[in-house]
């Protein structure tokens, strides 16, 4: 696909996302401080949101492997966003146009996802809507914080009451 065509696939997305961070990281709750599926170690200006609280909880649990996370040590945030150039990789036509499959987007090899993210960043895309690898029913939004359009916004993050938790990690 020609680079110029990629930008035309971006679409607006206005919703609310969720993420959990360890209590020591609540000063900057949007910042992913390590390598993730769509950011390399040196690409820290990326955040990951889930479209449901359940998916957010499962994403954190997955990273700890078989032991899961200590839910009481994590703080849950609700984050509203208004974005204008989101690439929806859960849309079959968009995924086909970009040559990616759900298996690629949730598989164990991250290189293809990170390469795709780099390509979309270069095209001015603000983020990616993609399938969750932790929750078969879930979707995540990956936002490139350094790519935000002036008309786009994210946050402020609102702490949620843990007594309303929806999932045991």
């Amino acid at each position: 696909m020609a680079n110029s065509a990629v930008g035309t696939l971006g679409r607006p997305l206005h919703r609310t996302g969720y993420r959990l961070v360890y209590r020591g990281f609540t000063d900057a709750p949007l910042e992913a401080r390590a390598e993730g599926r769509f950011n390399r170690q040196d690409e820290r200006r990326t955040t990951y949101l889930s479209l449901t609280r359940q998916t957010a909880a499962l994403e954190v649990a997955k990273r700890w492997g078989s032991v899961g996370a200590n839910r009481s040590a994590y703080v849950e945030f609700e984050i509203p966003f208004r974005l204008h150039r989101i690439m929806d990789l859960t849309d079959p036509d968009t995924a086909t146009a970009l040559g990616v499959s759900r298996e690629t987007l949730t598989g164990s090899d991250l290189r293809e996802c990170q390469t795709l993210a780099g390509r979309l960043r270069a095209e001015g895309i603000e983020g990616i809507l993609t399938w969750s690898a932790a929750d078969p029913e879930g979707k995540n939004l990956v936002i490139f914080l350094d790519q935000l359009d002036p008309a786009s916004s994210i946050g402020p993050p609102l702490k949620l009451d843990s007594s309303e938790e929806v999932a045991e990690l």
Partner: protein, 134 residues
């Protein structure tokens, strides 16, 4: 040789493993770290890649860890600090000893042998704490 034997005879008597929890404040650093991890001497030995008897000798002050084991103990301590209570304390031994898919199937403890492996484990912990999805 004779001097070494003398040193061994003068070594302080360390508490028996079963009394670790009661005597924790006064424990030597090696035993204190084990108490903090909540593992038996046998599990501790497995974490560190040494024989159970070696751990026993360290805790009784009959021997000292060599530089390689010291480095691993320091990394283990740093890792426990980094993890904090992000996982339940009782799950820490299991986390350390269970093969992890994001570490190419290695248990985190096995990667504490060198700085390269240690960085990989720290990266995983930071990602899990700061919400970098995988």
């Amino acid at each position: 040789m004779r001097a070494k034997a003398k040193a061994v005879r003068r070594a302080p008597v360390r508490p028996a493993p079963s009394t670790l929890r009661v005597l924790r404040p006064g424990l030597a650093p090696i035993a204190r770290l084990r108490a903090r991890l909540g593992v038996t001497q046998e599990q501790y030995a497995r974490l560190l890649g040494v024989a159970w008897a070696t751990v026993s000798r360290w805790e009784r002050g009959r021997a000292r860890p060599d530089p390689k084991a010291t480095a691993k103990l320091n990394r283990l301590r740093e890792l426990a600090d980094l993890i904090g209570d992000a996982i339940r304390p009782e799950d820490l031994p299991k986390f350390l000893m269970t093969p992890h898919p994001e570490l190419r199937g290695h248990p985190p403890a096995d990667l504490l042998e060198n700085e390269f492996g240690f960085e990989a484990v720290k990266g995983l912990v930071l990602a899990a704490q700061s919400g970098a999805y995988r």
